[in-house]
Every structure is written in structure tokens, then in C-alpha cells.
Amino acid sequence: MEQLNMLWANTGLQQMAWGQGLMLLVGMLLLYLAIVKKFEPLLLLPIGFGSILANIPGAGIAEGNGILHIFYEVGIESGAFPLIIFMGVGALTDFGPLLANPKTLLLGAAAQFGIFATLLGAIGLSAMGIFDFSLNDAAAIGIIGGADGPTSIYVASKLAPDLLGAIAVASYSYMALVPLIQPPIMRALTTKKERQIKMVQLREVSTAEKIIFPVMLLMLVALLLPDAAPLLGMFAFGNLMKESGVVDRLSDTTQNALINIVTIFLGLAVGSKLMADKFLQPETLGILVLGMVAFAIGTACGLLMAKLMNAFGKNKINPLIGSAGVSAVPMAARVSNKVGLEADPHNFLLMHAMGPNVAGVIGSAIAAGIMIQFLG
């Protein structure tokens, strides 16, 4: 009888707090978004599953010696997982379009204003007493607007580990929502004529340029912003492995087995930060709203920067590629192409948009480095 009581006392049902029950539903919602809606399933499926495991009452999988907590400590607290993922992203990135038209780097710069505007917004909401975000929190939330999952996770792990779960979920969810969030903004801020601008055919880029670029990028980072060096260093390293052509077996493994393995454990570890007591806070709602705002502002600034550049330069830029400056590679570039085709069915913007798209990755990492330098 005693043992029956103990068994009952130890069931999840008996121990469940209302918050854990709610979080189980949130976990299932994430699985639904990943599987049925195909929202960034590579990350949201492991994150969703991890959040379910983390909220099983009495199991303690995300605490103490629980396996998800171990994954978190080993992989995220150390910074290893997001950096390795970034190395993999580097190995999957082609800087060709950017090298053919380097001034599109400026579009990637402009789109980072979403990050800082959101930081201001978060601090403003705190000043109004609606939320209680510190400057560190606000900076980590702002990086959602950079639309790079690993960068967001890396910065959050350094500046605001308690918010990491909400930030990662917002980051990947909005990246998946890029095809819904961006087009209305793009149509609102451009005229049909602007959307029809045909851009000059991109030149061919030599292997030598592609090999030198990541090293040059790293050197510039080393000289000017050392705090961005881990992120951009691993990114440049992955890219150099790919472009150098002398370590194809390492590059292949980086792009496949390694990035896949790390993605699984990164997702589970992030999920472990979706425990009820941390996640079910009013702050989470603030993060979700601010993250959306960050995306929208970043998109708008990219577009406006393109229009500004057209006021001065002679080779006109189709402003639709400016929105790709938020990164969310390659989704945002595909959206630029898609909206461009609506205006002119023969105007393919995809390759032109890949320039600002990868520039956005660099820009966000620079912004991240500044945040870490000032606040870390």
C-alpha cells in the first residue's frame, strides 16, 4: 500500500505544476510547427522535443545531472555548439555573389538597425515599467533581429542565459516566418518601378578571391573587434576549408556529419532552457513581440538603405534585395526573388540578394561582438 502511494506520489500527474502542463503543450506546439508547418524543423523539432523532456515533472532531465543539462553545460555554456554550427554555416556559404558586388555589404549593415532598435525598445519598455529587462537582456533580445540562430544563442549564452530559451525559439520561429513577415513591408516601402529595377549581371569571381576573403575578414575582425573573433573566426574557418579545396574531406564532414550531430544536441540543449519556471514569465511575451519588431525594422532598414544608395550610385540596386540583409539565409534571398518576380516575371534577383544575405551574417556577428565587448 505504501509502495502504491509512493508510485502515485512519483507519477508525473501527481507532481505536475500547471506551468509544466502548459509547457508540455508549448513543446507540442513547437513540434507541430516543425513537422506540419515546416518551420525550421532542423532546430525547432529538437528544441520542441527538448522542451517536452525538460518539463516532465519529477524527471529532472534539464537539471543537475540530467542529460539535457549536461548537454547544455558542455555545449552551450562553453560556447562550443553555436561556434561549431557557425563553422558549418561557413562551410556552406558561398561568398561569390558578395565578392562580385561588395557594396551590397552596406545593405547587410543597414539591416542591423533592427537589432539596435529592438534594444532601445526593450529598454524603453523597462523604463515604462512594463517589463524588467537589463541592458544585457535587451542586447540579447535585440540580436534576434540579426536572424542568425547560432549568433543569437551565442550572445544569449554570454549575456542573458536565463532568456536563452525564449530568444532561441523566437529567433528560429521568425526566421521561418520570413516569407510572411517581409513581403508586406517590402511592398509598402517600394514603388512598383523600383521593384522592377534590373541589376547588372554579376561578374565571375576567381577561386583566389574566394580563398583570400575569409582570411581578410578574419584579419579585419582581429584588428578592429576581437570580441567578434570567435564567431567570425569559426565562420571564416569553415568557409576557408570549403574554398581552399585542399581539405575536402574535412569540409564535407563539417557540412554533414558534424553540423548534423551538433544541431541535434544544440536543439535538445536549447530545449532544456524552456523549463516552465524560466519560460512562463511575462518577459517571454515581451521577447516574442520585440523579436518580431526587430525583424520588421531590419527588413525596412535594408530596403531604405538600398534606396539611399540608389540616390548616389550609378549602378542601380533593386531595393528588394535590401530586405535580404537581415540574413535568414537563404530564405530572405528567396523572398526577395519571389517579390521581384511578382513585379517583373523575368527579373531574377536571387543571386543579387545572396550578397546582402551573407553580408547580414557578418553584420550581425559584428553587432554581437560589440554587445559582448560593451556588456560581456
Binding site: 552596406l106 549593415a109 539596435f116
Partner: protein, 80 residues
Amino acid sequence: MEQVDLITEALNLTLFGMGFVFLFLTLLVFVTKLMSIIIQKIQDSTPVEAGAPHRDEMADELDEEAKFVIEQAIKMHRGA
């Protein structure tokens, strides 16, 4: 008072942050363009690949002969 400080700091961070992002990426634009120009100059002036023929040549010779021999040898040793 404290909140005003917080807002000031946030504004500062934004100002310096966006400034630095633009500074860095503008610099990157110039350096990239410079690099591309230099590379294209070099490649135009050396129509056929130069590089390090001495060692490469040796390695290539090695490669070709060795590959043949390895294949032969493997053939002989298989079954073993």
C-alpha cells in the same frame, strides 16, 4: 534617475554600435574591392598558372606513377 542612465547607455550603445557596424562593413567593402583588383591584376599578368612548379611537378609525377603502381600492387595483393 537610474532609468535615465539606462536609456542613455542604450542610446550610446546604439549609436556606437550602428556606427561601428557601418565602419566595419564599409572598410570591408574597400578592402574587398582592393583585393579583387590586385588579384585580377596578378591573374591577368600570369595567363598560365605559375605557382610552385618545382615541388608540384615532383608531387604530380609521384602521384601518377604511384597511383599506377598502387593499383597494380593492390590487384596483386587482393585475394590475400
